[in-house]
Symmetry: C2
Subunit: 331 residues, 2 copies
C-alpha cells in the first residue's frame, strides 16, 4: 500500500497543512522537509525559525494567534535584554529560548541539525518525521534596491519593506540533503509529495535549490502536488504577493504553476481561482484553501491527497530524468 507522504514546507502556512496531514494519515508515514534558508545566528544562538514553527505546531505548543513561537509565551528575557542595551528586533520568548539554547549547544558539540530536530520532536511527542532540508549551512539572501540582506534582516528587522530584486540561496550549491530526505522521496510506498502553501520564493525555493532534493522530487514514484498560496490575487499571510510584484510576476495561480514547472503533477487552487483551472498547464483542483482552524487543515490535507491519488506521474518522471541527470551532484 502506498501510504507514505512527503511534505515540503516553510513556516506558518506550511505548518498548518502539515498539521492537517498528521490528522489524515498515520503520522509515522509522514516526512516533512523543512526550509532552513531562514536559519541564522542571533545573540550567539542558532535559530531555525521554520523548523521550530513546524515542531511547535505539530507538538501543540505553537501560538495559534501569532503562528510563530510558543503559546502562553512570556517576554521577560527580551525586556531585560533591552534594558542591557541588547538588540531587540528579533523577538525570542522565554520558553522558546530553551529550544535555541539546546540547539546551539547540540550543534556546537557536533550533533547535526537533523539529529537535534529528531530528538526534540520525539521528546515533544511528535510522531511525524521532521527533516531539515540539509544539515549544511544555506542562507537565503535578499538582494534589494539598496542592500544585500540576510533573510531575517529583510523579513523581521526591515519588515519586508525593501523592494526585492533577486533572491539567492548561498551555500545551496554545496549543500547535500539531510539524512532521510532522499530516502523519503524515493520510498517505493510513496503516496504523494505535497508542496505546502508556503511562499514559493522564500520558503520552497531554498529547498528546491538543493540539487539532490529537486532531483528526488523529479524522480519520486508518486504524484507531486502543490497548494497555491495565492487566493484571488492575494496571499493570505506574508509578503508573497509583494515579492511576486517586485520580481515582475503576476499574482496568479498560473504564475505558481509556471514557477514549479515540470516538478508538478497537480496544483490545488482556491475556489476563488476556479476559473483559472482550464487554462493551467497542469491538472488543477479547486477548493477552499484558507485554513482558519483545524477542521480546515484536515479537510484541505484530505482533499489534497485525494486529488493526488487521481494523478499520473508519467510526464514529470520523463522530464525529471533529464533534469536530474543534469543537476545531480555527488553526495
Amino acid at each position: 500500500m502506498n501510504d507514505r507522504v512527503v511534505a515540503l514546507c516553510g513556516g506558518i502556512g506550511g505548518a498548518k497543512l502539515a498539521l492537517g496531514l498528521v490528522h489524515v494519515i498515520d503520522p509515522e508515514r509522514l516526512s516533512i522537509i523543512v526550509n532552513t534558508g531562514d536559519d541564522f545566528e542571533h545573540l550567539g544562538l542558532n535559530i531555525s525559525p521554520d523548523l521550530d514553527t513546524v515542531v511547535y505546531t505539530l507538538s501543540g505548543l505553537a501560538d495559534r494567534e501569532r503562528g510563530w513561537g510558543r503559546a502562553d509565551e512570556t517576554w521577560q528575557f527580551m525586556q531585560a535584554l533591552g534594558e542591557l542595551g541588547g538588540p531587540s528586533w528579533f523577538h525570542l520568548g522565554d520558553r522558546d529560548m530553551a529550544m535555541h539554547v539546546e540547539r546551539t549547544r547540540a550543534l556546537r558539540s557536533g550533533v547535526t541539525l537533523s539529529s537535534f530536530v529528531a530528538r526534540a520532536a520525539r521528546t515533544l511527542g511528535i510522531r511525524a518525521r521532521i527533516l531539515p532540508m540539509t544539515d549544511d549551512p544555506v542562507q537565503t539572501v535578499v538582494e534589494t534596491e539598496d542592500d544585500r540582506l540576510a533573510f531575517q534582516q529583510y523579513f523581521v528587522e526591515r519588515r519586508c519593506a525593501p523592494v526585492v530584486h533577486t533572491l539567492h540561496f548561498a551555500g545551496a550549491d554545496r549543500a547535500v540533503p539531510a539524512p532521510g530526505v532522499l530516502e523519503a522521496l524515493s520510498a517505493p510506498s510513496l503516496r504523494a509529495v505535497v508542496i505546502c502553501p508556503s511562499n514559493p520564493y522564500l520558503s520552497i525555493d531554498p529547498i528546491l535549490a538543493i540539487a539532490g532534493i529537486r532531483a528526488g522530487l523529479m524522480n519520486a514514484a508518486a504524484p507531486v502536488v502543490a497548494i497555491s498560496p495565492i487566493i484571488g490575487g492575494h496571499a493570505i499571510k506574508g509578503p508573497t504577493v509583494k515579492i511576486m510584484s517586485e520580481l515582475g510576476i503576476a499574482a496568479t495561480t498560473a504564475s505558481i504553476a509556471a514557477h514549479y514547472q515540470d516538478l508538478l503533477d497537480g496544483l490545488v487552487i482556491d475556489e476563488a481561482d476556479a476559473d483559472d483551472a482550464a487554462s493551467l498547464d497542469v491538472p488543477a483542483y479547486a477548493t477552499r484553501t484558507l485554513m482558519n482552524d483545524l477542521p480546515d487543515r484536515i479537510r484541505l490535507a484530505k482533499e489534497t491527497l485525494a486529488f493526488a491519488d487521481t494523478l499520473s506521474t508519467g510526464g514529470r518522471e520523463l522530464a525529471g530524468q533529464a533534469i536530474a541527470t543534469e543537476r545531480r551532484r555527488p553526495s
Copy 2:
C-alpha cells in the same frame, strides 16, 4: 583627602556590604574587586555568579529573599528546558538570561569580562566600579573525598554535600589582575581596603590567589580590614563553617584572623564574639555584623570604615614588602 575605598567580595554576603558602602561614601570612589573563580560555562553560556550578584544588588535588581538572581524573576525558560530534556540543576531566570546571553556574546566577540561588566553596570545605573578579579580564566576546584568538582557542581549540583579535602584555584598562578584592580589598590587617596564577610576559602581566597592582587593588598597605603563571616561559631549563610570543619579549622574569629594573617590591619567581629578580641593578633572591633536590611548594611559599612580610620598600616607594609617581592610576578 583619602576617600577611595576598595572592597573584595564574593556573592551574596559580600554584595550586602558593598551595597552598604555605596550609601556611605561617594559611589564613584568605591572599587569592588569580585571573585570570578565560580565562573563557568553552562548551556554554552558564560556565567559569572558573583559578578552578577554584585551588579544586581547595586542596581536594585536583586531578589532580596534568595540573594542571587533578579527580583520578580520568572522561570519559563527553565521549565521549557526541562521539557526538552536539558539540564535543570542550575537555575537561570528568564530576565537573568539576558545578562548571560549578552556576556557570552561580548566575550566571544573579544570584549574582556571587565569591559563587559563596566558597560553593564553603567547601563544599569551603577556608579561604583565593579571589577572582576581578572579577565583570565580561573576556576575554583573543590577536591572532595570522591571527586574533583568544579565549584558550581559542588555548590549547586551537589549542594555542598561532599566533604572538602582541598580547594585550589586553577589558572590563578597565570592570571593577571583585571585592568583597574592594581590601580585601585595603589591609589594614593585610598582610605581603606575592606574584605567583605564573604566565605574566606571559596570567595576571597581565589582573589588573593592572584599574586598581583595579594601584593597589591600588602602594599596598599591604607588599612586593610576584614569582616569576619563567623558569628558565635556559626556562619550566617552558606557552607563556611562546614568547610572550616572539613579542613580541620575551628569556626572562630581567631581562625579568620589567622587565615588572612599579615594581610590584615584590623578585623571586624560580631558582638557575640567580643570576648575573642583580646586574644587576637590583630586589632579587632566588635559590633553587630548580621545584615538583615539596608540600615544594617549601611551601619556596618560606616562602622567598618570608621574602625579602619583608627588603624595604622605600618606592620603590614613591612611584612608586605617581603611577601610581595617573593610572590610578585611579571604582568
